[in-house]
């Protein structure tokens, strides 16, 4: 679907027009998204769709209060109308707000940024993509107990143009590619699921079609077919306190729910209370709270090549940064915006503001929130475990409204006996309290095993925005963890 270029003249004209209305600050954000989605089920095409969305979001600050409006109509009259709406909303809020917000400063820049890709996935013929998916699913079909096999690919192309009344003008082009497989098997009352290379729509990266080719869906299909058949006959874990090793796919979810979300400063300041809740990482704990053991260093890194939480500049023009959220176990920084950093009196924003689309304002979002690697090999990490479990591939997740009490299940686990991996275990569930759990982290594997994953379904805000965020992780070991069968 050929699409028009970013309307730079229109955007800059609009910024000037808003400036003349006497606002304290305003930004205008053009965004266009092209999303291609292909789903093959049982060797048959389920859906092929192409979604195009383009428009402009206008955010204005007047007397310390925000107003936001948007329009898909890219003509000056519609844009002026939307700007007028945003101004009216900001004035209305200002009329009852008592606390006036102050933005942390940022140096306005004129810049461009382009993510890295070799093969633009939108230029690859549909038949090549479909052939690959049909081939991968056909590898999974066969055994009678296999009830469903699904293979999917997703490609996103973002064109962004940001301009502010402070003088910033930033253009960014980002391409993401992803793919995955899922197989469901059933025998009697037993139903099991396996995904490859990860659950919740596979793997996703800032890359071109070359990334999908590297994922080796066909090789992965053989592995998960074997595993799902074994899961139908497997035993459940024994309930009790034990040592668990999370593989990178499950560390992803642990980071996401128990570190990324509670470190969002807007949430800490109460701005998500009516929807997703608050955070235990209150401002009095910054720099003081022991969040985890010395093995735990967690960074939010928006500069990481390939991460779906990477960018050149965030959606309020702040340059991408690497921020240590937890340093050697101590809670040391937040994910922040210009507003939230200003509220806390910080010198600058942490650069974590992103909006899903043009029709919603940016919120504080995770970038790539990563657990730094340790220095062990996997064998060394397992070596002295008498009994425990290695857990892989998230199946379900739940955490309380302050991000303390969590419970996860994974698709599969393996018994660890005397330092060696043993039988496959079905329906594993583990639970804990965030700082206690991370406090029992007794090691992580090295850089060679560290892997960066993309999560495409991070929900936040009202209206709800689904954001793509990244998580890099090694294998990590935790002692004294409550494990039980999910039944």
């Amino acid at each position: 679907m050929p699409t028009p270029a970013a309307p730079k003249n229109l955007v800059t004209q609009l910024v000037r027009a808003i400036q003349r209305r006497g606002v304290d600050y305003a930004d205008v954000r053009f965004m266009r998204l092209l999303h291609e989605s292909l789903v093959v089920e049982q060797g048959q095409v389920k859906t092929i769709s192409l979604t195009e969305s383009a428009g402009i979001g206008i955010r204005v600050l007047i007397h310390g209060s925000w107003g936001f409006a948007s329009t898909p109509h890219l003509n000056l009259a519609s844009l002026r109308r939307a700007a007028g709406q945003a101004i009216d909303l900001a004035k209305a809020s200002a009329s009852i707000n008592k606390k006036l917000l102050r933005l942390a400063p940022v140096k306005p820049v004129k810049a461009t940024h382009r993510s890295s890709w070799q093969i633009d996935p939108f230029t690859v013929p549909l038949s090549n993509k479909l052939d690959y998916l049909v081939w991968a699913t056909s590898t999974l079909l066969g055994p009678k107990v296999i009830k469903r096999v699904t293979a999917h690919m997703d490609f996103h192309k973002y064109t962004k143009l940001f301009a502010s009344t402070e003088g910033a003008c930033i253009e960014q082009d980002i391409i993401e590619s992803g793919a995955g497989l899922e197989v469901v098997a059933q025998h009697g009352n037993e139903v099991q699921l396996r995904s490859y290379p990860n659950s919740h729509r596979g793997a996703l990266a800032q890359a071109g079609f070359e990334y999908v080719k590297q994922l080796d869906l066909v090789g992965g299909a053989k592995t998960i077919q074997s595993e799902v058949l074994q899961l139908l006959r497997a035993e459940s874990p024994k309930p009790g306190l034990t040592t668990v090793v999370l593989d990178p796919t499950q560390v992803v979810m642990q980071l996401h729910e128990s570190c990324g979300h509670p470190a969002e400063l807007d949430r800490v300041l109460g701005q998500e209370l009516s929807y997703a809740g608050g955070s235990f990482l209150t401002t009095d704990r910054l720099g003081k709270l022991r969040y985890g053991s010395d093995h735990v260093t967690i960074v939010a890194d928006a500069t990481l090549p390939g991460g779906v939480g990477s960018f050149g500049y965030d959606d309020e023009g702040v340059p991408a940064q690497r921020v240590e959220l937890v340093r050697n176990g101590i809670f040391s920084a937040y994910l922040s915006s210009r507003e939230s950093a200003g509220r806390l009196g910080l010198r600058a924003s942490g650069g974590a503001m992103r909006a899903e689309l043009w029709d919603v304002p940016p919120l504080v979002r995770m970038t790539n929130v990563n657990l730094e690697p340790g220095d062990a090999t996997l064998d060394e990490l397992l070596h002295d475990i008498k009994h425990g479990y290695l857990l892989s591939t998230n199946k379900s997740w739940s955490i309380d409204d302050r991000r303390l009490n969590f419970q996860f299940t994974t698709e599969i686990a393996w018994e660890i006996e005397h330092g060696k991996l043993g039988a496959i275990v079905k329906n594993p569930l583990y639970t804990g309290i965030t700082p206690q759990f991370w406090g029992r982290c007794t090691g992580a594997t090295d850089r060679a095993t560290w892997k960066l994953w993309g999560v495409s379904n991070c929900a936040k805000g009202e209206p709800m925005q689904l954001m793509h965020v990244g998580h890099g992780a090694p294998y990590a070991r935790f002692d004294g963890v409550a494990v039980a069968p999910a039944r």
Binding site: I48, H152, E190, S396, N405, R487
Partner: protein
């Protein structure tokens, strides 16, 4: 609002211009005014106007779908061309249901002018009053307040032309006082029927409790689940079990069990997109009128919902539950009703010697073991210990891990009163639910602050 004639005319134009054997076009248009606030400050005030147009074409048994958010002729034409191009390159589908034909249903009876025309100053006045009342009680307030309008139109090359328009207004209020917080929410098509002061009063009552919260041991408790808590659980049942896809994949606990008693006789659950007590939407994304589908009848597994593709697979007509053309989750019920009982909510509380009152849950997941409807989730604001029929003390956060099939087999009472539960900002369907008194509910963890 775009209006029925403009929306349907544009969609029909796309259908007319299509060179495919069959074409279906749907458009969803909505506007939301959303104010979010925390500690008596509005931190987000926005107007969101959104439009999504889906074009699905069938060409020599090959299907293509394209989506756009523009209503400009050039954009729609580009979208149609993209759908046709996809179809040309797609492999032929083995099982393709015929397009539904002939349904013409145009209605705006769910539009309330008062909601459409609420003046901005009225919107703000309402919030200001809530802030003042909360401050007067010595508590703090956070939450959201939203109004909006929605339109759905479907047209196809087989004569379908359907349009529905509606309005909505809703609020979520979180009150905070020292260690406690309270919550209340409300929703209505008509903003004048959304009385926020009683909601605030309810939330304040929860957080102004005279006692500090108590921490209870984990274990099995009698529970009284209020409508919002029941709605979250039943919506999860809808997602994991009441749709044809999970039934076919046999992950649904209904698979192979239709006609069996799975729950207590008092439990009846239906999906009915035509009932005005819910947020009705009388047709689906294929333009098929919605049927009333009994899912659980007096405790017995009764039925599931279909779209035309799954209907073809099972040799049944569609029940009017087709999702948008890009969806891969399959048909899911989104207008759920649980039948009422004989007692009043207060009677249920009075009849409880020792148990927990739970107004709503947080972060429920029904993906643990769908065959047993095993779910986990947490208590949130307003959860209270009941002793000798009275609310004795608020409780700190507790986690449940419970098979819903097991819990819904031991029902001690169901309230006469039912409440409409839905989100005015996110379209997640609606549920009309009573308060439910259950004999056993397993709590497996608690939060430590």
């Amino acid at each position: 609002m775009i209006g029925a004639s403009k929306l349907l005319n544009e969609l029909k134009q796309v259908v007319k211009r299509s060179q495919a054997d069959a074409t279906i076009v749907c458009a969803e248009a909505s506007t939301r005014r959303v104010a979010r606030f925390a500690y008596e400050n509005i931190h987000q005030d926005l107007v969101q106007e959104s439009l999504t147009v889906y074009v699905k074409v069938i060409l020599n048994k090959r299907v293509g779908v394209a989506v756009t958010d523009t209503f400009e002729r050039a954009g729609l034409a580009r979208c149609l061309r993209a759908a046709q191009e996809i179809a040309k390159h797609a492999p032929p589908a083995k099982h393709l249901p015929a397009l539904p034909g002939g349904h013409r249903l145009v209605t705006d009876e769910d539009v309330v002018q008062r909601t459409l025309q609420v003046p901005p100053e009225e919107f703000l006045k309402t919030l200001k009053r809530l802030f003042q009342l909360c401050q007067g009680a010595g508590a703090q307030l956070a939450g959201s307040f939203a109004t909006g309008e929605d339109e759905l139109a479907v047209a196809n090359s087989n004569g379908v032309a359907c349009y529905h328009a509606s309005t909505v207004a809703g609020a979520k209020l979180v009150t905070m006082y020292r260690k406690l917080s309270g919550y209340a929410s409300g929703i209505d098509r008509d903003i004048s029927r959304l009385d926020l002061e009683p909601l605030l009063e309810r939330a304040l009552k929860q957080c102004l409790h005279r006692r500090d919260p108590v921490t209870l041991p984990v274990g099995t408790y009698e529970v009284i689940l209020e409508p919002e808590a029941v709605a979250e659980l039943v919506m999860w049942l809808g997602y994991i079990a009441f749709g044809a896809k999970s039934f076919q994949e046999r992950t649904s606990f209904l698979a192979g069990r239709i006609g069996e008693s799975l729950m207590a006789r008092g439990i009846s659950i239906v999906d009915d997109g035509t009932d005005p007590d819910g947020l009705r939407l009388p047709f689906d994304f294929e333009g098929v009128p919605k049927q009333r589908v009994p899912l659980i009848e007096r405790g017995k597994a009764s039925g599931i919902v279909y779209d035309s593709a799954y209907g073809l697979l099972y040799g049944r007509p569609s029940t009017g539950h087709a999702p948008p053309p890009t969806d891969t989750e399959g048909p899911i019920p989104s207008h759920l009703f649980m039948g009422p009982g004989a007692k009043r909510r207060d009677e249920l509380i009075r009849s409880c010697r020792r148990g927990l009152l739970i107004p709503r849950f947080h972060y429920v997941s029904g993906l643990l073991n769908p065959r047993e409807a095993l779910m986990t989730g947490l208590t949130r604001e307003g959860a209270c210990l009941i002793e000798d029929g009275k609310l004795s003390a608020p409780i700190t956060t507790m986690r449940f891990t419970q098979s819903l099939l097991e819990a819904f087999q031991h029902v001690l009472g169901i309230s006469k009163e039912r409440t409409l539960i839905a989100d005015a900002i996110h379209d997640t369907g609606s549920a009309v639910m009573p308060t439910l008194h259950l004999a056993k509910f397993r709590f497996t963890g608690r939060s430590e602050r």
